[in-house]
Amino acid sequence: MEIGFYPGCSLNGTSLEYAQSTLALAKAFGVTPVEISGWSCCGATAAHNLNHDLALALPARVLALAEQQGLTEIMVPCAACYNRLSVAQHALNNSEQLRSQTSQQLQMPLSGKLRILNVMQVIEKYIADKIPEKVVKPFTRKVACYYGCLLVRPHDVLQFDRLEDPQSMDSLMRQIGATALDWGYKTECCGAGFSVSRTDIVARLSGKIVKDAVERGAEAIIVACPMCQSNLDMRRPHIDRYLNTKITIPVMYITQAIGLAVGLSRKEVGLEKLFVRAPEMEMAE
């Protein structure tokens, strides 16, 4: 089974383990991601903060390329890209004028019919029912599933999961043997794009998230967004300074956790790329 694949910039650099583990997991379940050829940046936070036209044209170019290459469905693991592409397609589909203008600017047709799926949706659609039979090393740990903002909001556009207490990741983690904890920061902001310009803010916001997870007894935080991951993981020294303690809880991608449970190696899921070391989580049966 083939599915279109938009890696986005983060998965090519700071979050390459997210790409590695997503691709390895897809392969293990017979799903073949087809990368959109010639893809470019979705514009991220910068575009919608500074330039209204770019906030639409940049993601629209990606959508048009995917359509041009005959793809009908694309997997977008980065929550920020998933959000920007979905918001753009929603805007284009709500205004015929905007769509024809954008299509003209890009000199490419835009049908607006592409299905844009985040990583949980792809897993639920193509992989989930085969997970139980494939689990060889149950992930028997207590975890805090952290969704962040961009995966579930705005609900009108994304129509994915619950707004305040989403469950999709929790349910997948339970399928591989984990205990998904109730906790208070599932969709609280990590500080997102302020990682470089206001690291102090990221330390405070991400610090609160990490602290709650630890206090509830979590042994790992599970994420599906490169910005969330790098803020909670790579910014740990700043978080530790803010909390005035040393916190050792690892922050893993959902694709890494499932990958380990179905027998992929630590290397195959890129576990050594994390800044905060993830100890042996998987338990051999």
């Binding site: 650099g13 470019s40 936070t45 910068a46 209204h52 405070r204």
Partner: protein
């Protein structure tokens, strides 16, 4: 009212579809805003300032730190009983502040980062992280930023030295 004095609220509504007068000041946006502590005006106060329709209040908003500290997490919109799209309003206000050159002085680094980001996308089509950081440092003279984390990123293969150049990228 002369056309020049067209109500700020009406102008915002025609540009964004957001009607600031629907806000009845319940304060849920400010209560849920993760950045509230860092803001000069929390979101509900921004709404109130815009409702007063005075040039002075509008100018205060456009000079504020709040509009740049909004991380677009959408918590406010999620919880607003009137479903007022504050994140979209913030996007509009930021662009207004850029056009009117009223960017808050304490927010210059945030803007510098966004500009460096878009520069990277302009020149290569994708985000080139090493270039982004260099560009940001030139813009802010913040030479020490991430000096400790960059070598570890590089060793883990997370900081490619050379950019990938996308053919047919958007010209802007």
């Amino acid at each position: 009212m002369s056309s020049e004095q067209k109500s700020f609220a009406a102008e915002i509504r025609s540009q964004t579809g957001v009607n600031v007068n629907r806000c009845y000041q319940c304060g849920k946006c400010s209560a849920g805003c993760a950045l509230n502590e860092n803001m000069d005006y929390p979101p509900s106060v921004v709404m109130r300032l815009l409702q007063t329709n005075s040039a002075e209040s509008y100018s205060a908003v456009l000079h504020s730190q709040a509009i740049w500290l909004c991380a677009s997490c959408q918590n406010c919109l999620t919880r607003c009983p009137m479903q007022i799209d504050i994140p979209q309003l913030m996007d509009y206000l930021r662009i207004q502040a850029l056009e009117k050159k009223t960017v808050n002085k304490k927010s210059k680094k945030i803007v510098a980062f966004h500009r460096a980001f878009l520069d990277s996308v302009r020149y290569t089509g994708r985000l080139y992280e090493a270039g982004l950081i260099a560009d940001y440092k030139v813009r802010t003279f913040d030479l020490l930023q991430d000096l400790s984390v960059a070598p570890r990123m590089f060793l883990k293969g997370k900081l490619p030295i050379l950019p990938e150049i996308v053919k047919g990228r958007l010209k802007f």
